[in-house]
Point group: C2
Chain length 403, copies 2
Amino acid sequence: MGKLILENTSEIFRPSARAARTPASVTRDILKVIDTPGMISFAGGLPDDTLFPIQDLRNIFETSVSKKGAKLFQYADTQGYSDLRAWIADRYYPGSNADEILLTSGSQQALDLLSRYFIEEGSPILLERPSYLGAIQVFSSYAPSFIGISYGEEGPDMEELKYALKNSSERPKFFYCIPDFQNPSAYSYSLETRNSISELLLKNGIPILEDTAYRELYFEKELPTSLCELGPEHTVSIGTFSKTLAPGLRVGWIKAPKKIVQDLIVQKQSMDLHSPTLNQELVYGFVSSSKYEEHLSLIRKTYRQKSEHTHACLQKNFGDSIPLQISKGGLFYWLEFPEEIDTDLLFRKCLEKGLAAVPGSSFFVGKPERNHLRWNFSNASEEQTKLGVERLYKVYLEMVSNC
Amino acid sequence: MGKLILENTSEIFRPSARAARTPASVTRDILKVIDTPGMISFAGGLPDDTLFPIQDLRNIFETSVSKKGAKLFQYADTQGYSDLRAWIADRYYPGSNADEILLTSGSQQALDLLSRYFIEEGSPILLERPSYLGAIQVFSSYAPSFIGISYGEEGPDMEELKYALKNSSERPKFFYCIPDFQNPSAYSYSLETRNSISELLLKNGIPILEDTAYRELYFEKELPTSLCELGPEHTVSIGTFSKTLAPGLRVGWIKAPKKIVQDLIVQKQSMDLHSPTLNQELVYGFVSSSKYEEHLSLIRKTYRQKSEHTHACLQKNFGDSIPLQISKGGLFYWLEFPEEIDTDLLFRKCLEKGLAAVPGSSFFVGKPERNHLRWNFSNASEEQTKLGVERLYKVYLEMVSNC
């Protein structure tokens, strides 16, 4: 052996066309510099980890292991822990049951699973513009043709959606949307928009993939009825415990008509057999206890304060040089700069000053808008936020003076 | 709302061609009946869960949470916990390092990830015949053209492999193989075969995907050098802690040249962001302790006894009516019946008698051989094995008398 040495291993390893078209998320570039000393990050959608109920999770672990022992560590059902599925059905989808829920490894796996199930290369899918970059990344690897629909304060632009439906040469495979405190825009759909969208898409025979990741994170009042509740027969709902409990556990779910769930289980089995049992047990132990509501209240209160503090810092620095609306839920500010400010450049200059946030261009399919920045407010401390916004304003001023 | 009710939701939900071609594994059918009272199962590749080191995992959980707190529950690096990666590199791949390891959610996710990375629709891949049904299932969903190579006592048939390489109109994307106590055949490659295969495939510019799931489960002596050690520049190795520690934790890995790992990380990120942190921590805590070697010895000893007991039961019932070679590692017996016995039928008759095992046809690409049965020996008790083999023999006799 060892006589033949190939100089270029890429001659042997030939990635598929699929692999080549999965865009590396900008988040990865950010992660590379995030550990630089002095760097403050507002880039990830990271929950405030001081709020994680660690002691409760410890107790649940002890109780569960005592009660269930080896079962928690053996191979398990692909669909996931039935008690947790029943709990999700009961709480989030009135009138549904555990058969209509499939547990996944976070909502990112739900997106991958649904992409695999629905997307046909070259066929159109509808999504909001802007939309969640992790969704754009995974959809891209399945090579659909993207149809972006502008997302404004009340929801997607209905005229644009109608136009797209009328003019698409092929019926789109689905409409992916985040109707609750969207990532990145922080906008939510009004009830009226929810009704119109649900009806319009049903009439056109198009499934809705509703991503509910931020639905529990309202600071003032609950959101209007979900699209899934309005039209369960044509809506697939995606959820996660990453924002309400802890992302490191990687527990999310899909809610769909039972027949679809049966199909999805076959896909999930081929992807990873099943998600880890212990993690589902820890989640169930916590959310089914009386502490969950208390915990949600605490998160909402804390994030509301953080949102208000961020807003105050932004206003103090920027005044009315950029439009500023307070975020009333979710995890983000979607900062809009004057059109001459290229936030890809702003982003790179910020990194040099020890500040990370995500440039808006990453959230667009097709021709990107280049004057937004997504700013997470849930993770940083008050002091870091104050400092971060000051750094941002300095970089901004520098760029304005160069325009 | 609610005016429009579609009678057939499948008109709205249109699965992709990919979804339609993922075969539902026969294991799923087995799982459906497995809870029938009185059913004894030898179907899954389930470890003996009485051997799981539950108390150690409890202690590790407590220590880790005390030490690391919230970090264990926050979003984490896609590539996985660096200490565990370094440990895997060090133990299993002499001369490599943590950069060359990517942690996955079990080895099934590794197979999915590598399928996604390598397989091009319609392009050929090489694999053993028979091969692991979970691999065939996930490969199928990416629609390669399969080239099966007969697997005998010493390894794959070299003449057949050479013939396939010479006659394939397109260079195969990879050769997938399980050189150590293969699932299902229980055969291993000799050192000579390992050398020839590695050299031949390198010369032909074909990557090897080496699945090492059963490599630690030897009952007599260690196996010859791995293909990855013989040819690290053209081999991707897949491993798992499912058989050596606990499958419910879902921790596996891929070892590949660093450049390939970098590409795979992008794919993994789009699939599920990262695997759960806590689970990697539990695995690391155990395998890096002095208890791991002791634990492996115990598993090997226990499974050796189970293999011998199974062999004794088989011999007592079947005598020399079927060929019986003792399994010297891994988890399975690959029972070969006379050609007139269709094991798909045998399987169904066994289910009726309260006995589950996997019919051999599930392990073949192309035209299946129909006279094998895969029999797991690691999970059942001695008494269950005795009873199970007696039931099998009864069904067999019945079928023989009907031939």
